[in-house]
Symmetry: C2
Subunit: 118 residues, 2 copies
DNA sequence: CTCGATGCTTCCCGTTGGAGAGTAGGCACC
DNA sequence: GGTGCCTACTCTCCAACGGGAAGCATCGAG
């Protein structure tokens, strides 16, 4: 069986959904700078809800992209870090970020043009 | 003002959401092979609803990534194609697809491990 | 003995997305 | 002339998803 993201039942579609997820991209980018705590991630990624941060981290952990380390202290401390697999995604998501920032003005210009015509 | 996708109000966040969208990625990949009609896209991208296909195409058109050409014939014919801007995304989304397919087995293994521990 | 810190979890509700039926408009066949 | 048929949507209904806020568990500090 060949991997084919265009087939909705292929596992690669699910993988693509995960790595293309809006929050996953930002979490991975944030962890690029080294281990981060839950609160640090929440602070850096503006607009993410606690529920979605937890959910995204669980998904990334399940897929082997990040590790979750609990320190038995009070108050609790949980560190998240990229795995080797997660680090192999870094170039790609950094590329997405770079594209978004460098082509921002072109996209906004296109948008203005489109909206002007209606 | 510097573009920062981590800020929820920055335009680059919206651009990142668009190019990281599950359906946008698949539409762009499909259009990589040349112009496609609405029905061809719907057929190729397994599992997409008509509503989301229309919505995704409109979004991509608005952002200047694809063009929409209506041929005044009966039955109607509408062709979609990538713009230069859209083509500049190709390497990136092809990279995502490649990552998904090549690391599929690793991700599935990680998932099985995670689920086994629970 | 209450407060605060931290990392969640739960509840409520508005928004989003999927499924499927309906629409427009002219040609083609009976 | 009526009945389909074709394509690219558009509309309607409903389930699922995501945001916001509040609750929970733990233990030391004050």
């Amino acid at each position: 069986m060949q991997a084919d993201p265009f087939n909705r039942n292929c596992g690669s579609r699910k993988v693509l959904d995960r790595i293309g997820d809006r929050w996953s991209v930002l979490v991975v980018l944030t962890l690029a700078g080294g281990d981060k705590r839950y609160g640090e991630l929440a602070e850096r990624i503006d607009g993410i809800s606690q529920k979605m941060l937890t959910q995204t981290l669980r998904g990334l952990e399940r897929d082997g992209l990040v590790t979750r380390t609990v320190h038995a202290s009070v108050p609790p401390r949980v560190d998240y870090a990229l795995t080797d697999l997660g680090r192999s995604l870094l170039d790609l998501v950094a590329g997405l970020e770079a594209w978004a920032t460098t082509h921002l003005t072109e996209v906004e210009a296109a948008r203005a043009r489109y909206d002007a015509r209606g």
